[in-house]
């Protein structure tokens, strides 16, 4: 880090009136911290309000000027929101779909990325462009045709119907391809020369090297599948198959919108993804570092 390089030998740590650290606090550092803290507050305050609001009653929420702290920290909103639908089942479905879709995504995206990165075949660029183009199609355009396809494949109202179609994420292919571009060809050649088949090379050499990028795609996939709403809406038909975002949408559409319940559901939906992000965030930073966007 650049900080350590600035210390010249022979200087004892200076203690001044306002700092005990090795160097005096520079104005630019202070400014930077101020700006960052302001930004952090701008990010946190609305979320803090969501959290505080999730404990308030409808009357409290209706107060103008608004109150800050809830009158009681009771979990009434949470229990009511969760009792309005089969929370355990929806949660279970969300979890199953998210995990299965992520595993599938990692598998097929990495294979496709490998092909696009490390082979030179005709139509490669067209395919890559096609992949990119699919990000841009608004889902509303293809909602009915997709349903027809899903129905004709018999995937309607099944968890697989929610897992498979969404697994071919174009962004995932994009990110993994960039990363794989930076893997030296010599490694792969060496493996081939050693007699390793293509698939074995892929699994034993290339994939382990891609762990950071795979972690990135995994986290994004978890994020997207967990909060995905339109896909499950299209595919699911019975309560047994619904996922959590459907419950949230349902509250929002009632004639007298229960804001207190929506906020509670908002908190409940955010926490799992937040935890996963906090656990994996180191991976993300190092991961994207090497998606070859250099």
């Amino acid at each position: 880090m650049s900080e350590t390089r600035l210390i010249t030998t022979g200087t004892a740590p200076k203690r001044t009136w306002t700092s005990i650290s090795r160097k005096p606090v520079r104005l630019s550092d202070a400014l930077r911290v101020v700006v960052l803290t302001a930004g952090a507050l701008a990010c946190l305050i609305p979320l803090l309000w969501m959290f505080l609001g999730s404990f308030k009653t409808p009357t409290e929420l209706a107060q103008r000027p608004p109150t800050l702290l809830p009158e009681s920290w009771g979990l009434g909103n949470y229990t009511e929101a969760l009792s309005r639908f089969n929370f355990v089942q929806y949660l279970g479905n969300s979890v199953i779909v998210t995990i299965a879709a992520t595993v599938l995504t990692l598998a097929i995206n990495s294979m496709a990325a490998y092909a696009l990165a490390k082979y030179n075949f005709r139509g490669k660029n067209l395919l890559f462009l096609l992949t990119l183009a699919t990000i841009m199609i608004p889902l509303q355009v293809i909602l009915i045709p997709v349903y027809q396809v899903v129905a004709s494949l018999g995937l309607v109202n099944t968890l697989w119907g929610m897992i498979i179609p969404a697994a071919a994420t174009p962004t995932g292919v994009f990110l993994l391809r960039q990363y794989m571009l930076s893997i030296p060809d010599e490694l792969i050649e060496a493996a081939r020369v050693d007699g390793s088949g293509e698939f074995r090379t892929f699994v034993q050499i290339v994939l382990p090297l891609c762990t950071p990028a795979l972690a990135v795609v995994a986290i994004f996939s978890v994020m997207w599948r967990w909060s995905d709403f339109l896909w499950p809406l299209v595919v699911a038909q019975s309560e047994a198959v619904y996922t959590l975002p459907v419950a949230l949408a349902r509250f929002n559409a009632e004639l007298t919108v229960p804001f207190n319940l929506i906020l509670a559901m908002g908190v409940v939906s955010t926490i799992p993804v937040l935890i996963i992000f906090l656990i994996f965030q180191r991976q993300i930073a190092t991961g994207i570092a090497n998606t070859g966007i250099k």
């Binding site: 309000w49 082979y119 355009v141 930073a285 994207i288």
Partner: protein, 306 residues
């Protein structure tokens, strides 16, 4: 990368002419992913384009319109208002999001202590459901008693009619949109920053360059590939924004913040259902985003070559 050490020092061999395995390998690798694309995205997209040539009010029976839907859309005043709103929003959003993401990424990167904390904090808004984001900000931007105007009032700024004036509503929508996504772009840029050799900065400092010079001459150019990725993604997000805007302003006041996807949604899923119009609008949106992305890509390729 330390992996370089693994390369043995064998003399390069000529490639064995096609074991068929290696020839079909790329296609086999591609098939699972592309098959799913083809079945669940591309084929339905073609069908969707086809559907835009018909009109329907129940998804089951269709009436041939030819280009009638497109004609109807392109001659309606409402569409052009929506198109203008979408363009304004997308441009403002992409510019602001990219600039903010760059600024935040650079600052976070330079920060020693608390770097992990800041990185996490800026990313959290990305994780919250857009519907809830819209609701929270709708509450906070109320003219009379919203948190934002109260805070502004405390420092002597008069209350802003955030959600009830056409101009300010658009400002609010752009700001909230950026708030919601900047962490995502920041992360991509942070990674790009980590690949810049610190020695360059050292050398610049020796030559007497100020921080601003360093940023302008070293950081920005070397970060360019990441910036392109961010701009492409931001463009797509910008043009397809709907969820949070719907709960934030509902497209108001009086249609000032109604964007393309809302137009599609209202025509496709609110009475009276005009499904052909909705699909045609979707096709138009796709074509615009696609064209912009291609332009973006070509421009960035050219710059890289230079």
């Amino acid at each position: 990368m330390t992996t370089a050490a693994l390369v043995t020092s064998r003399p390069p061999r000529t490639r064995r002419p096609g074991g068929w395995g290696i020839r079909i390998a790329p296609y086999l690798f591609l098939i699972p992913n592309m098959a799913i694309f083809a079945i669940f995205t591309i084929y339905p997209a073609l069908n969707g384009f086809n559907m835009s040539l018909y009109s329907s009010s129940n998804g089951r029976t269709f009436r041939w319109e030819g280009l009638g839907n497109y004609e109807q859309i392109l001659t309606s005043a409402e569409f052009w208002t929506v198109a203008r709103n979408t363009a304004v929003f997308a441009v403002a959003y992409v510019l602001l999001a990219t600039a903010a993401a760059i600024a935040i990424a650079v600052l976070v990167n330079a920060q020693g202590r608390g770097k992990t904390f800041f990185r996490a904090v800026f990313f959290i808004p990305v994780l919250v459901s857009p519907v809830v984001v819209g609701l929270i900000w709708n509450w906070m931007l109320e003219r009379e008693n919203g948190l934002v105007n109260t805070a502004l009032g405390a420092i002597g700024v008069p209350g802003v009619p955030w959600l009830v004036d056409g101009f300010w509503a658009m400002v609010a929508v752009v700001l909230v949109g950026v708030w919601m996504q900047v962490g995502f772009y920041m992360l991509i840029l942070l990674a790009g920053l980590q690949s810049i050799d610190p020695a360059l900065y050292e050398a610049a400092k020796m030559d007497g360059a100020t921080s601003w010079d360093q940023f302008r001459v070293i950081t920005l150019p070397l970060l360019q590939p990441s910036i392109v990725v961010v701009v492409v993604l931001a463009t797509i997000h910008g043009f397809q924004s709907f969820d949070f805007i719907w709960t934030l302003t509902g497209g108001g006041p009086v249609g000032a913040t109604m964007l393309m996807v809302q137009y599609i949604y209202e025509n496709g899923f609110q009475s009276p259902i005009r499904f052909g119009i909705a699909t045609a609008g979707g096709v138009l949106l796709f074509l615009v985003v696609f064209a912009l992305t291609i332009v973006n890509w070509i421009v960035s390729r050219r710059r890289e070559a230079v």
